[in-house]
């Protein structure tokens, strides 16, 4: 069974491995874009009273940096691994709904392009209300341009991609497991994908509603968040953070899943306390719904609400701490190999723990009131999302790169990359704790020399430059590997899970014969036997219709953007046409 090639085969693909690669490269480009925006921010803040970037452009840069990193880089980079790795880990030939999977990708791509198109218009009206877009700053009265419309419509489209992916991976993981792959034998990465998927399908409807209200306020003159008509801007904050806090776990759980694969492989020991790690992940998923108002202590919700949310926030640190100790116990007595993937996984534990601890300091409302809107908060969530999520995702990139491409990344360059990132990350974000406690507010385009934080800000900017350099090394490593990388073979790391039992890169149909699983570490307990030659294997044919249906969404979004009603019917017609052709096309070949 030969793999089809050419542009058409990529545009119509429903193969989870190809969609995973499309997710990876798209998200990686947006990661570089978001990183470039961060470098511009750090260039502006390198010295006091700098005039390199105007206040307006600075607002756009920090808004788009946050929005891009959360919705167009970190989530879809995790989705790239969901797509590529989960079906392989559970012993399936594809996801449950391959065309819905293609739809998710195209919706994600088009939503991301839609929002970023704002940079290209005259006077670049890019979103400028912060990634959390607090009302009333985002209302027409204070932000009359199209900036916020690009943001809210782009996010609405991106949300649909996440919802579709969530349904798909829930069904895939629950229903397409190989014989013998009980839930308690499921690799932890697949478990965390499942928890993340449940969070996506429950959290995204809430922000959908919040954004619909904002859109109606801006386009049709309703008063959802307008105090003069009795509306309440705090409603936005509740809806946004009711989504936003589960979103934090949507970002971190996949990375926790990755390192729960990497640490056992390079310690040559099964994960310590597998059951507890899994249940902790599930518990974090549930508890993630009960902490959102800790983002809102400074609103003044009253002593009871503040106390309850302080308590739930401190409680959620327990399952997180349990996981950290389980990872450390996995290392204990293991045959540790310090590969690049392992270094990033260890970096995750160290940096995520720092971020988690500073998170607990925000859990106390009196302390939080001092920290709100200062660089202390910026330091905290970068330790969690960069030190945590990105370190975990880099570990996954080095770990699964040979599976996805058939070649190993250079370990020498990989370690250079790791140390540049690790040192650069601490240099950039550690001083921000102090800068914040000394009183420098976030989201202000410059600061005065009199604040006394010049040298620490310069240090942050030097660290950011190191991070940029680290990414240059990484990109070179990936480019170089195409020709010069060592051939990986099926299982270069001696991994224990099913993805390592098949060739690298895997054939179109993944498994010649669907394996039967008898253990949590199938490859360590029973090495794969030579399989009998396969019979005829059904592989889903490609389809244009997911992409056509996806194209209807940005067209529909043009209507509120341009205040032209008829466009919405054109977009809806494209969407419906795509869905009908999709529903009634012959599928199996």
């Amino acid at each position: 069974m030969s793999e089809p090639t050419g542009l058409k085969s990529w545009l119509t693909t429903t193969d989870h491995k190809r969609i995973g690669k499309l997710y990876f490269w798209t998200a990686f480009v947006f990661f570089l874009l978001g990183g470039f925006e961060a470098l511009l921010i750090r260039a502006q803040l390198a010295k006091p009273d700098n005039t390199l970037i105007s206040a307006d452009t600075y607002n756009q840069l920090f808004t788009m940096h946050g929005t891009t990193m959360v919705f167009m880089a970190l989530m879809p980079l995790a989705a790239a691994f969901f797509n590529y790795i989960v079906p392989l880990q559970i012993g399936a030939r594809d996801v449950a709904f391959p065309r819905l999977n293609a739809f998710s990708y195209w919706v994600f791509l088009l939503g991301a392009l839609f929002m970023n198109a704002s940079w290209l218009l005259p006077h670049h009206p890019a979103p400028d209300g912060g990634w959390f877009g607090y009302a009333t700053l985002t209302e027409k009265q204070f932000n009359p341009g199209p900036n916020i419309d690009f943001w809210l419509l782009g996010l609405q489209i991106l949300g649909i991609a996440s919802l579709a992916a969530g349904f798909n991976f829930i069904v895939t993981i629950l229903n397409l497991r190989a014989p013998g792959m009980k839930m308690m034998r499921l690799p932890v990465f697949s478990w965390m994908t499942l928890v993340t998927s449940f969070l996506m399908i429950t959290a995204f409807p809430v922000i959908t509603v919040a954004l619909v209200f904002l859109m109606f306020d801006r386009v049709f003159g309703t008063h959802f968040y307008l105090p003069q008509a009795g509306g309440d801007p705090v409603l936005w904050q509740h809806l946004f953070w009711l989504f936003g806090h589960p979103e934090v776990y949507i970002l971190i759980l996949p990375a926790m899943g990755v390192i729960s694969e990497v640490l056992p492989t390079f310690s040559r020991k099964p994960l310590f306390g597998y059951t507890v790690v899994v249940y902790s992940g599930v518990l974090i998923g549930f508890m993630g719904w009960g902490v959102w108002s800790h983002h809102m202590f400074s609103v003044g919700l009253g002593p009871i609400a503040d106390s309850v949310f302080a308590l739930t926030t401190m409680l959620i640190a327990i399952p997180t701490g349990v996981k950290i100790f389980n990872w450390l116990a996995t290392l204990w007595g293991g045959q540790i190999r310090l590969t690049t993937a392992m270094c990033f996984a260890l970096g995750f534990i160290a940096l995520f723990t720092i971020g988690g601890l500073s998170g607990v300091t925000h859990a106390a409302p009196p302390a939080d009131l001092q920290q709100t809107d200062t660089y202390y908060v910026v330091a905290h969530f970068h330790y969690v999302l960069f030190g945590g999520t990105m370190m975990g995702l880099f570990a996954g990139m080095y770990y699964w790169w040979p599976k996805m491409t058939g070649r190993l990344l250079s370990e020498r360059l990989g370690l250079v990359h790791f140390w540049l990132m690790f040192i650069g990350m601490n240099l950039t974000f550690f001083p921000m704790h102090l800068i914040g406690l000394l009183g420098m507010p976030r989201r202000i385009y410059t600061y005065s020399h009199d604040l006394g934080v010049d040298s620490m800000n310069l240090l942050c900017s030097i660290g950011a430059a190191m991070l940029g350099l680290g990414m240059v090394v990484f990109v070179y490593n990936m480019w170089r590997t195409r020709r010069h990388g060592a051939v990986a073979g099926p299982n270069p790391w001696g991994g224990a899970t099913l993805e390592w039992s098949i060739p690298s890169p895997p054939p179109v149909h993944n498994f010649d014969v669907i394996p039967t699983v008898t253990s949590r570490v199938p490859l360590w307990d029973a090495p794969p036997k030579p399989a009998p030659p396969p019979g005829h294997i059904h592989v889903p044919a490609g389809s244009w219709w997911p992409m056509v249906a996806a194209a209807g969404l940005p067209v529909m979004a043009l209507a509120p953007l341009t205040h032209t009603v008829w466009i919405v019917f054109v977009g809806a017609a494209i969407l419906l046409f795509g869905i009908y052709r999709w529903a009634f096309e012959p599928f199996e070949v």
């Binding site: 709904f97 069904v171 409807p205 209200f213 109606f216 008063h223």
Partner: protein, 195 residues
């Protein structure tokens, strides 16, 4: 597809499309939950009229509610007919569901236009904002359901829907009943318990 689904092994023994649809319904609960919560939070906070007590017409909406509930009964009968291969009655009931849904939408169009005439526009007050978005979102769901039912009916008329598609009809039924249940909640909270 049903044949394929029945023979394909799934880990939970449940059809994948059905499982995916239940996940979708779970997700929809959060969507309507957010809309309904907002309605309740903003109840009685409008700074000007018209108020729900002045404008809501419970007798008329009771009729459309009855119509929508009956369409759920017809949905049950349509699925039963498809499952036993009685395509004659399946066509009748599927068209019945679609017409029942269309009548509900007709009532809603009448309700919205009469409200606007009486001064309750989308922009009039917080009640207008929350009422129109909540019931409008529900109405959009009914409209999608009507299109879905008409599609199934059309395929049945062309002989392309048979007992082997019972799962397809069952999933459409899940959607229809869910939209109905949401309306029962909305009718109770917005109309019957209005302040």
């Amino acid at each position: 597809m049903t044949h394929a689904a029945a023979t394909h092994h799934t880990s939970m023994g449940l059809d994948s499309r059905k499982m995916g649809f239940w996940a979708f319904i779970g997700s929809e609960c959060l969507l309507f939950g957010s809309l309904i919560s907002t309605y309740l939070v903003y109840q009685g906070r409008s700074v000007s009229g018209p108020t729900p007590a002045e404008i809501l017409n419970i007798p008329v909406t009771s009729i459309s509610t009855f119509d929508l509930l009956m369409s759920s009964l017809w949905m049950v009968l349509a699925l039963a007919a498809v499952q036993r291969g009685d395509m004659k009655w399946a066509k009748v009931w599927l068209l019945g569901v679609a017409i029942g849904g269309a009548i509900f939408i007709g009532f809603q169009v009448y309700e919205f236009t009469s409200f606007v005439r009486e001064g309750l526009t989308l922009q009039a007050n917080l009640f207008g904002c929350t009422f129109f978005i909540l019931t409008g979102t529900h109405g959009a769901h009914v409209t999608v359901g009507v299109l879905w039912m008409l599609t199934l009916w059309y395929r049945a008329m062309r002989g392309k829907l048979g007992p082997e598609h019972a799962m397809t009809v069952e999933i459409a039924g899940l959607y229809w009943h869910f939209v109905d249940v949401v309306w029962i909640v909305i009718f109770t909270l917005v109309y019957l318990l209005h302040k």
